[in-house]
Every structure is written in C-alpha cells, then in structure tokens.
C-alpha cells in the first residue's frame, strides 16, 4: 500500500512538474524591429514601450493559448539592410511574428524578405505585423498573405482630411512638403488626388521633397512656404523631420494650418507650443480626448511609464494585440498560418467603435479622427497644457478604399 502511494505521489509530482515546466518553457516569440538609435529613435523607443506594455497585459491574462509572449527587440536604424539582418536573427531565435512600423522603406524590404523566407522554408513561416508603415503599396501591388497592416494607409488618412477640408472655406492655397521617399511621395500624390476630387477650387502653390532624416534646419523651406502665400500646409513628416519643421515654422512666425499625419508625435507639440493652437491638425486612430474620460489602458500606461514624454500614442498597437489575442482564441492555435487565417475578416469591438481586418488585402479598418490642438482640452500632451480635440470622426467601415491586391494564399 505504502509503495503504491509512493508511486502515485511521485508520478503526480512528476506530472505536475512537467506541466509547470511546459507552461514556463513555452514562449511565443515576437520580434520588434525598429529604430532604437539615431534620428528616429524617439519614435522607435516609444513604440517599443507600447509593444512590451500590451504584450504584458496579454501575458497577465494567461498569454496566447497558454504561451507567454516574449518580445525580442532589434535596432534597425531605419535601414532596410539592418532590418534584414535583424530579421534573419529574429527568425533564427524562433520569432513567429515580426513587428515593425517606422519607415515604409524598411517595411517594403521586410515584406519582400518574409515572403521569400516563407516560400523557401515551408513549416517555418513567420507573419509580419506592420503598425505604422503606411505606403499604400503594401496592401495593394506589394501585398502578400503574411503581411497585416494595423494603421490606416496614406490614402485612407488623406480621405479623412478631405472630409475635414470639404467645408472649410478659409483653405485656399495649399503647400505640400514631404520626405523624399516612397511614403512622402505617396502623401503628395494622395493630396493631389484628394484636392482634385473634394476641393478643386483650392490651389496647390508649392511642393517640396526633402531628404529623409537629414535636414537640420528647416528655415529655408519655411521661407519658401511663406513666400508662396500658402494658408495651409499638408505634410507627412515624422519624428525629427516633423518637430524640426514646426520648430522652424514657429521661429519664423509662420501662420498656416498644419494638416499633418504625425503632428502629435513625440516632441512636436512641445516644439510648436501655443502657435499650434487652432492650427495644428492630425489624423489618427486615437487621441487623449476622444472620450470624456481616460481609458483604463491609458491610465495603466501612465502608471508604468512616468517619463514626461511618455504618452499612449499608438492606440493601433493596442488594437493589434487585441486582434492577435482574438485570432489566437478563434484559431485555438499559435501556428502562424492558422493565426493569419483567423485574422482575415475578424471583427472586434473597441471603446472607440468597431474594427475589422479586411480579408482581401489585410488592412485593418478602424475609426479615424481628425483633431486640432487646443488649449481647452481636458487632457494635455507631454505636460504642455495643450491637447487635441476631435473635429471629425470617420467610422471604420467608411475608411475602406478599393484595392488592387491579388495575394496568393497557402493551400
């Protein structure tokens, strides 16, 4: 009798230990590849915090089908070359999802490399979650089954601006200034198209493409904007390029309406200060004053990250992890192909409205907000006393645009 008890006890202990080891050992690795040094580091480090934060929330709730998410971070210095080296390392270290966003140039390289890898290594596929690279080509001509985008693309955001501009008769002369690469050119092209469609009376009085992340002093460009007589500037500039541009504008007393993609990004609001009240606009999927109170995620984020510059700016990363979590539950598996299939067409509710992942081109449809900087906002940005206030809300379903994507699906 005692022997049996002994055996059962040992066996039970062994099983318990094995199960524990299984739980502790199993990790779902995700690779975060973005700039952690150099000119765009402020954006990359900031979004890294978001990724780690939301992954931890899922882990606290039990992980993905029992596996805890582990984030491996790689610095790519916004270079396609470095990103591919990081990609190789990440795949070798077992990452199953690659997360990237800062720089469409990098995203184009990664999506191509992921496609090649998956074709050559069946059974070891990886997915590419793109949270910020919004060159439209990634969900049109260059789309593929493995890439999922969680941010509205250039054309979708420009359409949102169009809705905001349609009735504003004070806009008569527009100046376009953008970074000289695929994304900046896409913004310029989208602006042309949108204005021709929705405001043909508006005149484009100047267009500029400047080198990416290289211009230190934007005052010559600001001088040109002033000389053109423009009352509105449309720009897709991000990170240093955005805040240096508005800084130069403030120095030169430039009085225009700024329609920006990233005007609320780290450092820009402090750089423009009060000059931006009523004039600095952005189009985003979220801002602090979208709802009358702060959302629980925002409160938790601020509790964990207490630096002055820490803001929950990337709501789309929250959406991305929410979709991943839902897909994992739906597929009951963490296999990349099953997750991808579960993501296609997946609909989810959020505090800001419903969102859906398109099955045809893997573009997430989520509510968009056009907002303006104000000194009467309830919640401010980066302790400046200024915050964004909604002008227009566009529902997720209405943000959808036609696509030329024809992707090959695994059988």
């Amino acid at each position: 009798m005692r022997v049996w008890l002994h055996r059962i006890g040992t066996g039970g202990l062994a099983v318990a230990l094995l199960a524990f080891a299984g739980l502790a050992g199993a990790q779902f690795k995700m690779a975060y590849i973005d700039p952690l040094s150099g000119g765009a580091a402020s954006a990359g480090v900031n979004s890294q915090k978001h990724v780690v934060f939301f992954a931890d929330r899922i882990n606290a709730a039990g992980g993905l089908n029992g596996e805890k998410i582990e984030i491996l971070s790689y610095d790519n210095k916004v270079s396609p070359q470095e990103s591919l080296i990081a990609l190789k390392k990440a795949i070798d270290e077992g990452a199953r999802i690659i997360v990237q966003g800062n720089g469409s140039s990098v995203a184009l390289a990664i999506t191509d490399a992921v496609l090649k890898h998956n074709e050559r290594n069946p059974g070891k596929e990886v997915l590419f979650f793109n949270y910020a690279a919004i060159d439209p080509a990634l969900t049109n001509d260059k789309c593929n089954f493995w890439h999922f985008r969680f941010d509205a693309d250039v054309d979708m955001k420009m359409a949102a601006f169009g809705d905001a501009m349609v009735n504003d008769k004070s806009i008569r002369k527009v100046y376009l200034i953008n970074q000289d690469y695929s994304f900046g050119k896409a913004v310029a092209a989208a602006a042309h198209k949108m204005l021709a469609q929705k405001r043909p009376d508006v005149q484009i009085v100047g267009e500029e493409l400047h080198p990416l992340q290289k211009v230190q002093d934007f005052s010559p460009y600001v001088a040109k904007i002033k000389a053109s007589g423009a009352d509105t500037v449309i720009t897709g500039n991000w990170s240093n390029d955005m805040l240096l541009l508005v800084k130069a504008g403030k120095d030169a007393d430039l009085k225009v309406k700024w329609f920006t993609y990233y005007g609320g990004g780290l450092g820009s609001v402090p750089a423009i200060g009060r000059d931006g009240v009523g004039t600095l606009k952005q189009v985003t999927e979220h801002h602090k004053n979208v709802l009358p109170t702060l959302l629980p995620e925002e409160e938790a984020f601020h509790k964990r990250y207490t630096d002055k510059s820490d803001e929950l700016y990337y709501w789309r990363i929250r959406n991305m992890f929410a979709m991943l979590d839902a897909a994992a539950k739906k597929a009951k598996s963490n296999d990349p192909i099953k997750l991808a299939r579960a993501l296609e067409g997946l609909q989810l509710d959020t505090p800001l409205g419903p969102m859906q992942m398109r099955a045809d081109n893997h573009q997430l449809l989520q509510p968009l907000f056009v907002s303006t900087l104000s000194d009467k906002a309830r919640f401010d940005v980066e302790h400046t006393g200024l915050g964004f206030v909604t002008d227009e809300k566009i529902d997720a379903a209405k943000t959808a645009l036609p696509t030329t994507c024809k992707m090959q699906r695994p059988s």
């Binding site: 952690l36 150099g38 402020s42 500029e208 002093d217 005052s219 001088a223 240096l244 402090p270």
Partner: protein, 316 residues
C-alpha cells in the same frame, strides 16, 4: 522673390557663421599640426551638451563661459595624453586616432545623456524677436550667433596680428619646423592651440546646440562639412576659412530655394530629353534636392584643381 532672397541671405549668413565658428578651430589645429582632427565636431557636440547641463544647474550666461572652457580642457587632454603618443607614427596614425576618438566621444555622450535628442530650447532670456523683415520676425538668438561669430573672427585676427604668442603661432602655421629650431616649446604650443581650437568648437556648440537639434548624431551630421570648409578655405588661413564658410552657408541655403533642374535649363534652350531614359532622372534633379551635396562637389573640385584651397599658404 525679395523675401526669399532676404531670408536666404540672413539664414545663409547665420549658417555660414556657425560653420566658421566650428571650422576656425579646426583650421588652427590642421594648419599647425597637420592633424585632420575627426574629433573636432565631437567637441562641438560636447559644448552643446555641457552648455545644456550647466544651464539647467546654473543658468545660460555662466554656461556660455564655462562650457567652452571645459571643452578647452578636453582638447588639451586629447593632445597631451592621446595624440602626443601618436605623433611619431605619422599623419595616418594621427587621423585614425582622432577617428576612433570621435566614435568614443559619441558613445560617451550616449552613456551620459541617452540616445534621444535632448530638449535644448532657446533659453528664455534670449528667446525674443530681434527685428521684422517683410512681415516676419527674426529671432534674437540668431542675431546673437552672428554677433558671437563675428566677435570671434575679430578676436582671432587681432590676437594673431598683435600679440607675441599670435605671431609665433602664425609663424608655426607656415613653418612649424623652423619655429621649433628657433627654440620655442613646440609641444606646449600644440597643446595650447588644441585647447584654443577646442574652446572655439565648444562655443560654437553652445549656440549651435539650440539652433540645431542636440543629439548624439550632431557631430556626424556636421563633421564632413567642416572638413570641406577647412580644405576649401585653405590651410593656414583664418580669413580663408571665413570666406569658405560664408560661401558654403550661402550656397546651400540659396540652393534650397531654387526649384530648377538641368531639365528646365534644357527646356529653356530648346533641347529635348526622351522620357524614360535613365539619364533623364539625373537631369531632372532639382537644385533644391541637390543642395546637401554641393559642399562635397566643391571639396572634390577644389582638391583636384587647387589643393591649396582659396587662400591657403601651403599644401599639407
């Protein structure tokens, strides 16, 4: 049109004077010792960071004085404890030593202040408009930059022409071996010149720090252009460095304002370039897009045509 010219002139002059502040020190060091000091722009960066830190602790005006002094000490230390060992190995080794030093200083800055740009705002005490041109106000701190630069030029000019030390340094700029043969303590002279050069770079850093972005990449961004200025202006010549900095500052700033390309010129002359040809892309680059490369074009052309530079007194 007038506005563009006026602003480009002002901005170009400010940028040119910033380059002069930075390159006057390097001209001294390069001319006297033949050392192509890659770490010079790094000392400029140190000046910006020191000034920000000191401003936070004490205030802006003390920072304006203390930061360049600190940089002078850094420069003296580099020469006395670092470069002195390397002199006997020749110019290549000296260049390489400062090259490695530039990396190291960059990393030390990251170690102390982090990788992100720091909020080096224009101090409130000088943050106001100086005057208005064509309905736009021109900030005072830019006027201050110009003032300090010009004062620096005047000081260097007088110091070299009127003081005994200045005369010795002048002589050493063109005939270093002879000066040593005459019995002057050339190594001590080297340390002194390195210190003065570094102080000038530090002063440039104090002002440049809030005109540009203060971040660890600062040195790498401005470094190559400073070499261009020194080479184009010519060895041994401070006036040459002044002319070259103004030329490059104005050239780059005006170029940004010009949206014409070779293609526009061809069209004006009635020539046609077939669309879709590879070279068409080359011709269609606008001068405003090409502005960042103009200094390097000038450098290469100058070195091929006249390695002595505009006003140089000797070649290397």
């Amino acid at each position: 049109m007038k506005e563009i010219v006026a602003f480009s002139l002002l901005n170009g002059a400010v940028y040119g004077l910033l380059l002069f502040m930075l390159s006057s020190g390097l001209t001294l060091i390069f001319s006297l010792m033949g050392v192509l000091n890659f770490a010079h722009a790094s000392v400029f960066m140190l000046g910006a960071y020191f000034s920000w830190q000191i401003s936070r602790w004490v205030g802006f005006w003390p920072a304006l004085v203390v930061a360049p002094l600190l940089c002078a000490m850094v420069g003296a230390a580099i020469e006395r404890f670092g470069l002195r060992r390397v002199h006997r190995q020749g110019h290549v080794a000296e260049i390489l030593f400062t090259f490695g030093l530039a990396y190291v200083i960059g990393e030390l800055v990251i170690m102390a202040w982090g990788r992100n740009p720091i909020e080096n705002h224009v101090p409130a005490v000088i943050d106001f408009a100086a005057f208005r041109v064509f309905g736009t106000s021109y900030p005072f701190y830019k006027v201050l930059m110009m003032g300090i630069s010009v004062a620096m030029f005047a000081f260097l000019y007088v110091a070299f022409k009127r003081t005994r030390l200045g005369l010795i340094i002048q002589a050493a700029l063109t005939h270093p071996q002879m000066v040593g043969a005459l019995g002057h303590d050339v190594p001590r002279l080297f340390v002194l010149v390195f210190a003065i050069g570094s102080a000038l770079a530090g002063l440039a850093g104090v002002i440049g720090g809030f005109a540009l972005l203060t971040e660890p990449n600062m040195a790498a961004n401005l470094g190559p252009i400073v070499f261009v200025v020194v080479v184009v202006g010519g060895l041994g010549s401070i006036p040459g460095a002044f002319v070259a900095s103004m030329l490059i500052g104005l050239l780059q700033t005006f170029a940004v304002a010009i949206d014409y390309s070779w293609l526009d010129l061809f069209r004006a002359l009635g020539w046609k370039v077939a669309p879709g040809s590879m070279l068409r892309e080359v011709w269609s680059v606008k001068l405003s897009q090409a502005a960042p490369i103009l200094p390097y074009v000038l450098l290469v052309l100058m070195l091929i045509v006249r390695p002595r530079g505009f006003m140089g007194t000797r070649e290397t």
